[in-house]
C-alpha cells in the first residue's frame, strides 16, 4: 500500500470541460443571465450566482423506455397495510412512483448551476465595447506620465547624464591614445632630473621633443568632447485614468411612474456593470430632479416620491456643480445617463440644450438619454419618433458629440437598446444613431 497526497495537484481539472459546457449552452445561459440580472440592485447586478437554463439545450439523449404506458411493475419497500389484490389509485404523473423519478436531473425541465462572477459578466456584456470612448479617454487625457527611455545626444543641460558622458569620453580618449597626465608628469620629472644631473644632450633633446609632442596631442584631444555628451531621454506616456464616475439623472416628477423608474433602473444597472468592467473604480452619483435637483442615495433615488414641476436643466447644473467639487476632469472619466419621460418646461429647453452642448458634453466620455414610456403606449406609426419636449430639444445636439438617445417602452427593450447604444461599431462612426 502506498499513500499519495493529491491535494496539492493543480485544481480546476474540470475547467476545460466547464468551458465547453458553457460554450455549448451559450445562447441559453446568456438569456438566463439577462433575466436573472433584472431583479438585482445596481451594484449587485454583476455578481455571479445560480442560474437555470432549459434542460433541453444541454440534454443528452439516449435510448430508453418511455416512462408512460404499457404494463409496469414495481417492487417497493415499506409495506404497512396493503394485502395482495388491493388497488391503489394512480398517483399524479408529476409525482409519480418514486422509483421512476429522475435522480440524474435528465428529466427535469430546468438545469440549475452556478456561474462565477467572471463568467457571468462575460456573458452579460458580450460584444459590447466603447471604442469611441476608449480613444477619447486616452487622447483627451491631460495627465501624462514621463518615464526614462534611453539616452539622447541632445537635451537641456539639466538632464545631462554624467556617468554616460564620461563613459563615452573615456572610450574616446583611450581609442585616440590621449596621453595621460601622469605620463606627462613623469616625463617632465625625468627631463628635470637629467637637466639637474647634466645628462646627455641627445637624450635630453629627444625627451623634450617627446614631451612637446604629448602636450600638443593632449591639447588636440579634449578631455570631454561635445560628441561625448549624453542626455537622459524621457518619453511621455498618457496615463490612463482608471476612475470613472457615472451620473444617473432622473426625472422624479409625478409623471414618472413605477414602470418608468424600473426601466430607468435597469438601464443604469447595465451602465454601471459595463463601466465597472472597464475601470478600476466607479463612483455612482444619483441626481433626481423635479423643478429643482438633489443628490440622493440609491434607495431614495428609485423609491421615494416627490412632487413638483419639471425643470431638467437643474439636474444638469447640479451635475456640473458636483463635477467641479469632487470629480476633476483630469482624474475622472465622466459618464452620464439621463432617464426621463420627456416632460420639460418649454422655456427650459433652450437652457438644457446650451448647458448640455457647451458645458457637459465637452467633458463627458458619453452621455446617454433614455426616454422611458409606458408599455401600452402606442407605437408611433411611421417614423417612430417621439415628440416630447425634451426629445425635440436633444435632437438638436450636433452629431459629433458623444451623445445618444433612445426611446424605451418595455423591459425587454432595455437590453437591446443598451446594446445598440454601446455596440461595437466601425472606427470613427458617430456615436449618435437616432
Amino acid at each position: 500500500m502506498h499513500i499519495i497526497d493529491r491535494r496539492l495537484n493543480p485544481g480546476g481539472k474540470s475547467f476545460a470541460n466547464r468551458q465547453r459546457f458553457l460554450r455549448r449552452a451559450r445562447a441559453q445561459v446568456r438569456r438566463a443571465v439577462r433575466e436573472a440580472s433584472s431583479s438585482r440592485s445596481i451594484k449587485d447586478a454583476g455578481k455571479g450566482g445560480e442560474i437555470s437554463i432549459p434542460a433541453g439545450g444541454v440534454h443528452e439523449p439516449n435510448l430508453r423506455r418511455s416512462s408512460q404506458g404499457g404494463v409496469r411493475d414495481y417492487v417497493l419497500p415499506g409495506n404497512k397495510k396493503y394485502i395482495e389484490g388491493d388497488t391503489i389509485p394512480r398517483p399524479d404523473q408529476s409525482g409519480g412512483q418514486g422509483s421512476r423519478a429522475s435522480d440524474s436531473g435528465e428529466g427535469e425541465d430546468e438545469f440549475r448551476f452556478a456561474l462565477t462572477d467572471e463568467e457571468y459578466l462575460d456573458l452579460y456584456l458580450e460584444d459590447l465595447e466603447l471604442p469611441d470612448m476608449a480613444k477619447r479617454q486616452v487622447a483627451g487625457a491631460q495627465s501624462v506620465q514621463w518615464r526614462q527611455a534611453g539616452f539622447s545626444v541632445s537635451g537641456p543641460p539639466a538632464r545631462i547624464s554624467v556617468p554616460r558622458t564620461l563613459k563615452h569620453s573615456m572610450s574616446r580618449r583611450i581609442a585616440l591614445k590621449r596621453p595621460k597626465p601622469e605620463e606627462i608628469e613623469a616625463l617632465r620629472q625625468e627631463i628635470e632630473r637629467l637637466e639637474r644631473e647634466g645628462g646627455q644632450f641627445d637624450e635630453l633633446q629627444r625627451l623634450r621633443a617627446d614631451l612637446e609632442k604629448r602636450i600638443t596631442r593632449t591639447k588636440r584631444i579634449p578631455y570631454i568632447d561635445p560628441v561625448d555628451v549624453r542626455y537622459r531621454r524621457l518619453e511621455s506616456t498618457p496615463k490612463p485614468i482608471a476612475k470613472a464616475v457615472m451620473f444617473c439623472l432622473m426625472d422624479v416628477s409625478g409623471s414618472m411612474n413605477e414602470h418608468m423608474k424600473d426601466l430607468a433602473k435597469r438601464f443604469y444597472s447595465l451602465l454601471y456593470l459595463f463601466l465597472n468592467r472597464r475601470y478600476e473604480h466607479v463612483d455612482v452619483v444619483f441626481i433626481r430632479h423635479t423643478h429643482e435637483a438633489q443628490e440622493v442615495d440609491e434607495q431614495t433615488f428609485f423609491y421615494s416620491r416627490e412632487t413638483g414641476g419639471t425643470v431638467v436643466s437643474t439636474a444638469l447644473f447640479k451635475m456640473m456643480e458636483i463635477v467641479r467639487d469632487r470629480y476633476p476632469v483630469s482624474d475622472w472619466n465622466i459618464y452620464a445617463a439621463q432617464a426621463s419621460d420627456g416632460d420639460n418646461t418649454s422655456s427650459d429647453n433652450a437652457v438644457v440644450l446650451a448647458q448640455l452642448r457647451d458645458v457637459i458634453l465637452p467633458i463627458c466620455q458619453y452621455y446617454a438619454y433614455v426616454e422611458v414610456g409606458m408599455d401600452d403606449e402606442e407605437e408611433h406609426p411611421g417614423a417612430g419618433e417621439p415628440s416630447t419636449n425634451l426629445w425635440r430639444a436633444y435632437r438638436r445636439v450636433p452629431d459629433d458629440h458623444p451623445f445618444a438617445m433612445r426611446k424605451v417602452r418595455h423591459r425587454r427593450d432595455i437590453y437591446p437598446v443598451f446594446r445598440e447604444l454601446f455596440a461595437r461599431r466601425p472606427e470613427g462612426a458617430a456615436a449618435e444613431g437616432g
Binding site: I4, E60, L76, T87, G98
Partner: protein, 513 residues
Amino acid sequence: MTMLADSKLLFTGPDWDFDLIKRVHEACGDIAIKEMGLDPYPNQIEVITVEQMLDAYASTGMPLFYRHWSFGKHFARNEALYRKGYQGLAYEIVINSNPCIVYIMEENSATMQTLVLAHAGYGHSHFFKNNYVFKQWTDADGILDYLEFARGFIAKCEDRYGQEEVERMLDAAHALQSHGVHRFPRKRMPDLRSEEKREEERRRHGEQLFNDLWRTVPVSGKRKRSRDEDERRKALLGLPEENLLYFLEKTAPRLKPWQREVLRIVRLINQYFYPQRQTKVMNEGCATFVHHRVMNRLHEKGQIDDGAFLEFLHSHTSVVLQPAFDDRRFGGINPYALGFAMCCDIERVCTNPTEEDREWMGDIAGNGDPYGTLRDIWANYRDESFVSQFLSPRVIREFGLFRVVDDEDEEEMRVAAIHDERGYRKIKRALSHHYDIAYRDPDIQIVDVDLAGDRKLILTHRVLDGVLLEENDTEKVLQQVADLWGYDVKLVEQDDSGAPLAEHTAAPRRPFV
C-alpha cells in the same frame, strides 16, 4: 498522540496523518484478509480535496478522462447541489484498477478514513478482483493506460479536425453508449495452429476487400432475393447485432478511421463500466458488509474507542437507511441497504438457520462457513442472480417489500404480491428482474441493411410489457445513428409476435464523413 503506552487504540480524536492511515490500513487488513479471507488488490490511497472530489464525480470517478462538455455539465450540477447543501459528497471513490486506487477526502475524520479504507480498500477491491463479471469484462491492469491513451487521442483529434467535429462525434457516441456493450462474451477463435491462423487472416482479408455495401456494378436482370441470400448477407455483416456502436464502428461505410476510433474509445470505456451496472447491489453489499465487520472487530479488539465506534454507527446507519415508498426521501431501493441486509442474512443462514431458511436456502443453511459462503457468492453472481438465489423471506419481511403492477388499461394500480407465503417467490422474481440489465435497457438490435436498395439500416426494438421507447430522445438518437451510418435509418418497435407497434425513421442531416 496522547495515546497511553499500553493502549491498543489506533487513534483518538478526529485528526489523522499519513502514519495513522498506514496503521489503520494494516489493522483493517488483519481483519479483512486474515479473518475474513478476502483477497483484494494492493491499494493505492490518494488524498484529495473537495474540489478534486467534484472533479472526479464529473468524469465518472476516473482520475483522467477525455474532455467533453457533458462532464462540465455534471460538474456544474454537482457543484451547485453541493454548495447549497442539498447533496453530500461520497467519502471515497474507488477505481477498479490494479493497484486499486482509493480516493479519500481530506475532510474525513480518522474514524471515517478507517471506514473508507475498510469499505473501499478491502470490500470493493476484493469484489473487483474476484467477481466473475469484472474478471470477464474489465482489464484492471490496463484501464488507466487506456484512459490516458483515450484522452491523448481525443485531444489530438481536436487539434487536427477541430473541437466542434470531435464534439459532435462524441455526442453521437455518447447517445448510443447504453447500446455499446457486448452483453455476452463473443465467440473467440479457438487457439489454432499457426497455419490455420494465417488462413483465417487471409479469409478475413478477403472479406474486407469484398464489402457488399460498396457493390456498384448493377446486378444483371431482376434477381430474385432468396432466403439464403438474406442469411448470407446478414452473416457477413454479423447481424443481428445489439451492440450498435460496435456495428457502426466496424461497418458504417463513410466514417474516417479517427471517427471509428472515437466510437471504439467510447464503447470500450463503457464496456468497462458495464459490470458495475450489473453488480451495484452486490458490490455495495459486499463493501458495506466488510466495513461493518471490520469496524466491529476493531472495536471488539479495543483498537477504536467508543466515540469512534458511535461515529461509525451514525454514518453506517444513514448509509443503509431504506426509506419506505411513501417517504419523501424515497428514491428507489437503496442498493447499500439491500446488499448489506442480504449479506448479513446469508451469514445468519450459514450459522444460525431457521426452518424456513433450510427450506429456502437448503444448500447453504447451517454450513457453518459464512465468510467462505459469502466469498463464493461475491465471486460467482451478479445482482440479478444474487437476488433470485439469496433474497430470503426474512429480508422481504424486514423490508416490507411488495409488488405493484400498473397496467395502463386498468383503472388503478394493483398490489400483486406482498411479504407472505404466496408472495415471496413473486417478489423475488420481480425484483431480480429489475436488476436484469437486459430488462432495464430496451432491447434494440440492428437487424438488416438494405443493400439492394438505398442502404437503409433497419433496427428493431423488442417491446416488453407494451412499454415503447421515449419518443423525443429516440428521434434524437436515431438522428445520430443516421448521421453516423450516412444513409437512412429505420427503427421498428415490435412486440413478441413481430407485429410493429411504432416506427421511427431518420435521414442523415449532417453525416459524418
